[in-house]
Each structure stands twice: as C-alpha cells, then as structure tokens.
Symmetry: C2
Subunit: 80 residues, 2 copies
Amino acid sequence: MKAKVYVTLKKSIADPQGTAIKGMLNKIGFSRVEDVRIGKLIELDLGNVEKENAEAQLTEMCEKLLANTVIEEYRFELEK
Amino acid sequence: MKAKVYVTLKKSIADPQGTAIKGMLNKIGFSRVEDVRIGKLIELDLGNVEKENAEAQLTEMCEKLLANTVIEEYRFELEK
C-alpha cells in the first residue's frame, strides 16, 4: 500500500525559507504573491499491509520520526 | 487564490534522504516499509488572480524557480 504524508510548519511558526521564496517570486515578476510556506511531501510504499493497520503505522511514523510535532503538523492519505 | 505545488524527484534520480528515512523506519519497527521518497510541498497565496491566469503563473513559477526541472517534476492544484 502506498501513502503520502504532508508535513507542514504550524501556522504560528515562522517560515524563513518560504519568506525568501516569496521575496524572489515578487522580484521576478509575480508581484501579487502574498504568502509562501514550504512543507515536506513524503511518499511511502508500506509494503503489504491492511488499510487500518497502515493508518495506525503512519500515525506512529509521523509522531516518532517524520514530523517534529513541536513545530510541525502532518496529515496523510492512503492510495490503492 | 491559494495553490499547492508538489515538487518531487524524477523516478530515475536517486533520493538519499528518502533512503536514509526508509532505513531508519525499518530499524525502529516498520520493517515492511519498502520505499520512501521525499519531495516538497509549497503552499502559495497568489493574491487576487483569476483561475486561468493562476495556472499560467504557477507553471511559470515552477519552471523558473520552484522546481529544478532537470531532476524534479512538479504538479499543482488550485484551491477556492
């Protein structure tokens, strides 16, 4: 089973990388861009697991390794 | 208008960061995980633009700045 995990900074956390990209976009002609936030997209092949089990595993992976839950939040979706 | 851009490494390009995370997941108990690939999720607030215009702008942003099209591919989706 395949899964996608999206890890993003919490809204209250500053995102200097996103701010830099916003500044550059504004500079090269996209002057209307108001905000840019950068996150991670993690694509996993979980092997042969059932859907319920996969969801529990993904939550545990995010809490333990994939996200820093102090400053980040995560969500995931399962595919086929 | 808000948009999400997903930038991922092309399949033919090695992903050492993903490989490291796969190794660590296997080690901490998720032994069935077969593959991990890391990409970027870029959330943009494009300001006040029409949908058609937004799509054209996003393509240009990706080609010029957000993705390295030699090794990465991108896709995006518009929200509200």
